[in-house]
Amino acid sequence: MNLEARRMSLGRSEDQAFEALFTSEYARVVGIATRVLADPHEAEDVAQEVFVDFHRLHSAAAQYAPAWLHRAAAHTSLNRLRGSRRRLKREVAQALEEGDRTVDPQKQLEVDEDRRLVRAALGRLAPKPAAALAMRASGLSYAEVAQALGVGIGQVGTLLRRAETALRKEVIRGTSN
């Protein structure tokens, strides 16, 4: 096979590998972003951005691909969360005004407010514990969280425990303010 043919064949196999990676990881990447943003549309936006970024410089066959995507999903969505606090407040206020006609308005109001408080608290945590919480809550195993964050699997339990304590404190602080 000459070089040009080999290059084309490699390009095809890379495309196939990327599609396979996308198919197997997209829902998980969206899941992580959703835990952070609590907004399925914005979470999908983050997930697609993360995949595009990955594809530009990395081979889909790389062993670290899933770990990279999980980490990037957590950090990109946390960055958006921090950058969008004002917008978040506005949207929640709008949602409260409009209400949800299909459910008990009082209950929906409480759910929305809780969700807002938790996300605001998550945005105030340090990146690593915040990412660990989002990944674990979205269903990643200890091993996957460890790989994504570049820590030993034995450290994940302690990392999560500390992150949970920090989140609880921040939620309480947010509620009392």
Binding site: L3, R6, R7, L10, E14, E19, F22, T23, Y26, A27, V30, T34, R35, P40, A43, E44, A47, Q48, F51, V52, D53, F54, H55, R56, L57, H58, S59, A61, A62, Q63, Y64, A67, W68, R71, A72, H75, T76, D114, R115, V118, L122, L133, A134, R136, A137, S141, Y142, A143, Q147, G150, I153, V156, G157, L160, R161, E164, T165, L167, R168, V171
Partner: protein
């Protein structure tokens, strides 16, 4: 969130089963974890993977491999400056020695000293005209030497031996050939300089509108070190590797309208160019076949070495903080061995290629 099997392993798991106190504490922790999980819970969502893939495939930025400069940590700022210097002096070499109708193709290397002022002066050259890519470089990470070779069209060099302290993890990088055209624009140059409160020497006749066509690559390289866990979540961020062994087709330049001497004189007359750099460049015997290797005077020292019969320039020191060697091989390719290694180690590795 203590429902993972890895949360209770080995001796800890056995202890938890038998110690009532620890078991109770574990239950409290697990309950806390569940309550946090509830706080972070969101309604189940279903995603349409196929349409999402179609959307991603159509994204303008989807095409892989456009070159992006790595973002370096602040601790490696001197190295970053050195890289900036390297890029700038490469530009100087290209600009100064492109000859009308002639071919610039280096067959040997020589060191030239550069200062921060040189870098600043040379970086402004980009504002003296417009750059257009005829062929953009594609940079890709490959998982094997053969894949890298297929992407770049040249075979990666293989080291006979590397020091035992170097990681056994190897990643391959490949860059396709890139062609860029730079067109000098006198009015743009004057406007840029005026905006910065500077006065430029008059552009020599024929330089306005002259074009330089620069071809670099293809290139391939082996990167030793653990790149499997990038520390950043951004594609721009990479770890600095322990060792890089790279091979590139020698850059070539053609120009229109102006002679090599005209360009050289003009570039070296720009404000900010140090006398040391000016003298070093003018001392080069055959500029059309010499690749200038910039040596940032504050950060590195250079020595002339011989690599398998070819002249090379070794940079750095023997502290292990950073060292490297560059040479043009007998086969005409430009080679680089560099990393967080001693200069002597870099030279020894180079000799085994």
């Amino acid at each position: 969130m203590f429902d993972d099997p890895d949360a209770r392993v080995g001796a800890d798991a056995a202890h938890l089963d038998s110690c009532l106190e620890c078991k109770a504490r574990f239950e409290v922790i697990a309950r806390d974890a569940r309550s946090i999980a509830t706080l972070l819970a969101v309604p189940e969502i279903s995603v349409d993977v196929r349409s999402a893939f179609a959307k991603v495939s159509e994204a303008p930025r989807f095409q892989p491999g456009l070159v992006r400069l790595p973002v370096f940590r602040s601790s490696v700022r001197p190295m970053r400056l050195a890289l900036v210097a390297a890029a700038m002096v490469a530009l100087l070499a290209v600009v100064a020695f492109a000859a009308e109708g002639l071919f610039y193709k280096p067959s040997t290397v020589t060191p030239v000293p550069v200062t921060v002022a040189d870098m600043q002066a040379l970086s402004q050259l980009a504002d003296y005209g417009t750059v257009a890519w005829t062929q953009q470089p594609q940079l890709q990470v490959a998982t094997s030497a053969s894949d890298a070779a297929a992407i770049a069209g040249i075979t990666p060099p293989t080291a006979g031996s590397v020091p035992a302290t170097i990681s056994k993890t190897i990643t391959y990088g490949a860059m396709t050939k890139a062609i860029a055209t730079f067109t000098f624009n006198a009015s743009k140059a004057q406007a840029t300089a005026a905006a910065k409160g500077k006065t430029l020497p008059a552009m020599p006749a024929g330089l306005d509108g002259a074009t330089l066509t620069v071809t670099v690559g293809p290139a391939v390289g082996e990167i030793y070190g653990d790149l499997k866990q990038p520390q950043g979540s951004s594609a721009n961020e990479v770890n600095l590797p322990q060792l890089v062994i790279a091979k590139s087709t020698a850059p070539t330049v053609t120009s229109t309208q102006v002679s090599a001497a005209t360009l050289e004189n003009y570039v070296l007359s720009l404000p900010g160019i140090s006398p040391e750099l000016r003298n070093a460049v003018r001392a080069v015997k055959d500029p059309t076949t010499t690749l200038l290797i910039p040596v940032p005077v504050q950060y590195a020292t250079a020595t002339q070495v011989t690599i398998n019969g070819a002249n090379g320039v070794a940079l750095g020191d023997n502290t292990g903080l950073g060292g490297g060697v560059v040479w043009v091989g007998k086969d005409g390719y430009v080679y680089l061995v560099a990393g967080s290694i001693k200069k002597d180690d870099a030279v020894n590795i180079a000799k085994t290629l």
